[in-house]
């Protein structure tokens, strides 16, 4: 602890080095009556073999979120690849509601592929969608995720979030209280992980810019917690804050012009907002207790935060520009309520909840601030850092499994769960991206 000389910061994002520990998905809880769907293997027209099985990627996506159950390939009566080969009775007999077929065209020696897919409603004998997507061989996963988005939206009416990504922090114990910290980015399912930053000092609180091009985080690389913004594509980064004491919890405003943050330069941690163009700093809360964990309302007019001003952490809301004492308390019925953020509806508040002093469990819950109804979504004991998918359908959070930090996800109705266990290190602080183009 005395010597803090081994601070090594590597910027690796532009090199696209793969991360050491891959996360691989496991479905831990599905629903009772999933929608039956048949996804026929996509035929390859042209030379060679492909590294990715596009139909399998679509199946994994759809089953992951628990709403769908795909038909096993060995049970298929036919293997159509386009509309004229489809016989609806083959799929009705197998009690399938939906059918996806497709084919991939690759000119010999070319890195470009054309993926054609068609999607059918078996009961109505109707083609619902179809299109040709073009990309490089390396983008086959993206194309698979895009097709899954389309299927999900056609069936549920909600845009799919399968092309979204996640940020998270990994920590590996080197020895004693020495750790190696990494900020990583991956597909939402943990695939294609990349290291964005590596350090011998802690990295905390990653968050996405609204356009998904930049990340903000806290790094202790100078021995002190300071806020940085880094461009994902170029790896370029700049230090945003250098105030005394704690600088933490950076969160972009919905219009991307400001960064909410926590500073304790004036004594105790309070919420501040920094204008990213003028660098002007505005103090939002002013209280000798701990105020932290800011999150913006979707209209950008108010900030939800946690404060222990009554002795234990509870959730509060304040309008920007209002006097600092003019806060509204949102939670009353828990021993500790923390790390809150509104779902896009502005009524349901996702948070970390410890029900009672004698109950040591921290769980992810949703509070409807109008009806005051609380739904607890998880049943593990050290759940934290909930982050909502861009389509509002799922929440990813950090928990412990077999003594290790892992990322879990749960649907907002609590029915479906999946896990991204890591092969190495403690994984935590997931941040789900906005919709990416």
């Amino acid at each position: 602890m005395n010597t803090r000389t081994s601070i090594c910061i590597f910027l690796l994002s532009f090199l696209s080095l793969p991360a050491k520990a891959e996360l691989s998905i496991q479905i831990t809880q599905g629903i009772d009556n999933p929608i039956p769907i048949a996804v026929v293997p996509f035929a390859l027209e042209g030379a060679g073999v492909l590294s990715e099985d596009v139909a399998r990627i679509v199946i994994n996506d759809l089953e992951q979120v628990g709403e769908f159950l795909s038909l096993s390939r060995s049970n298929m009566l036919s293997m159509p690849n386009e509309e004229r080969e489809v016989f609806y009775r083959d799929w009705r007999i197998l009690a399938q509601d939906y059918l996806l077929v497709g084919k991939i065209n690759r000119a010999s020696g070319s890195q470009l592929v054309q993926v054609q897919y068609e999607f059918f409603d078996v009961n109505r004998e109707l083609k619902l969608a179809g299109e040709i997507l073009t990309g490089s061989v390396a983008q086959l996963r993206d194309i698979g995720h895009a097709i899954a988005n389309m299927v999900f939206e056609e069936v549920t009416g909600i845009p799919g979030a399968f092309t979204s990504q996640i940020l998270y922090v990994v920590s590996d114990q080197v020895q004693g209280d020495e750790y190696n910290f990494r900020l990583e980015k991956a597909d939402y399912d943990g695939a294609r992980a990349q290291v964005l930053l590596e350090s011998g000092e802690p990295i905390m609180s990653p968050s996405w810019s609204p356009d998904g091009l930049d990340v903000a985080y806290v790094s202790f690389e100078t021995d002190l917690p300071r806020i940085y913004i880094q461009n994902i594509a170029t790896g370029q980064r700049r230090q945003i804050t250098n105030y005394p004491n704690i600088n933490s919890s950076p969160v972009w405003s919905p219009d991307a012009t400001k960064l909410a943050m926590v500073l304790s330069k004036d004594g105790s941690p309070d919420i501040y907002v920094q204008d990213l163009n003028t660098n002007q700093l505005m103090r939002v809360t002013d209280h000798p207790a701990i105020d932290t964990e800011p999150s913006w309302s979707s209209d950008g007019r108010s900030i939800v935060f946690m404060s222990d001003r009554t002795g234990q952490p509870q959730i509060y809301q304040i309008e920007l520009g209002a006097p600092s004492y003019n806060v509204e308390r949102l939670t009353y019925d828990c021993f500790q309520c923390m790390k809150a953020r509104f779902l896009p509806d502005g009524v349901n508040l996702v948070h970390v909840r410890r029900e009672a002093r004698q109950n040591p469990n921290y769980q992810i819950a949703i509070l409807n601030i109008e009806t005051l109804r609380v739904i607890t979504l998880t049943n593990t004991s050290l759940d934290e850092s909930p982050s909502v998918a861009p389509n509002g359908s799922m929440i990813m959070y950090a928990t412990k499994f077999n003594g290790r930090g892992v990322l879990d996800a749960v649907s907002i109705d609590g029915r479906v769960k999946f896990r991204l266990p890591s092969s190495q290190g403690d994984v935590r602080e997931p941040a789900w991206s906005p919709f990416l183009n």
Binding site: N2, D177, I246, T292, E293, K339, G403
Partner: protein
């Protein structure tokens, strides 16, 4: 309202500090510590100067007590509690007097929390703990400029496991010489 509360807090802190200072000066022990430390450091740096208390190189009881206290650099805290344990008061007093006696000395107070509760809250709790130690040092004669405070929250546990035993080891403030 916030300002009035701040004002109240400042005044109460001031009163507490004055009471604590008064309590300290009424017992002669800490002052002896300063003299002993000075004597000890001057005798070690300059062998020609005579040392009243330990001419034969023998340390007094008080010097031994001070040295042992300064070797204790990790202080543990109860769950969700920001104040150090009363049992650590004497040891921390020796640390404070050591800083007061050696104005050139600098320490870094590193605050830590266990993993329960959210990371941001634990970062704040770690700072609250370290600030508590800092304020005690200042009240007992150290200068603010000698002390740097940093909180690591739950990011650097001394024991990386989820047990009560690990938690007691992880809720701590470390005094690190700079």
């Amino acid at each position: 309202m916030g300002n009035q509360y701040n004002q109240f807090l400042r005044i109460s802190l001031l009163v507490i500090s004055m009471v604590t200072l008064a309590a300290c000066s009424s017992t002669s022990e800490p002052e002896e510590v300063i003299e002993d430390n000075q004597a000890a450091s001057s005798s070690s740096s300059n062998s020609a100067s005579p040392s009243a208390s330990s001419g034969s190189g023998q340390l007094t009881q008080e010097e031994i007590r001070a040295q042992n206290a300064l070797r204790e650099t990790i202080f543990y805290f109860d769950f969700d509690v920001a104040e150090f344990k009363p049992a650590d008061r004497d040891t921390l007093t020796y640390h404070a007097r050591d800083l007061a006696a050696n104005p050139g000395k600098r320490v870094r107070l590193e605050g830590h929390a266990d993993e329960r509760g959210t990371r941001e809250y634990n970062l704040a709790l770690g700072e609250r703990r370290a600030n508590g130690v800092m304020n005690y040092f200042i009240v007992n004669g150290a200068s603010r400029s000698q002390i740097e405070v940093v909180s690591y929250g739950e990011e650097q546990p001394a024991q990386n496991s989820s047990s009560e035993q690990a938690y007691t080891q992880n809720r701590r403030v470390e005094v690190v010489n700079r």
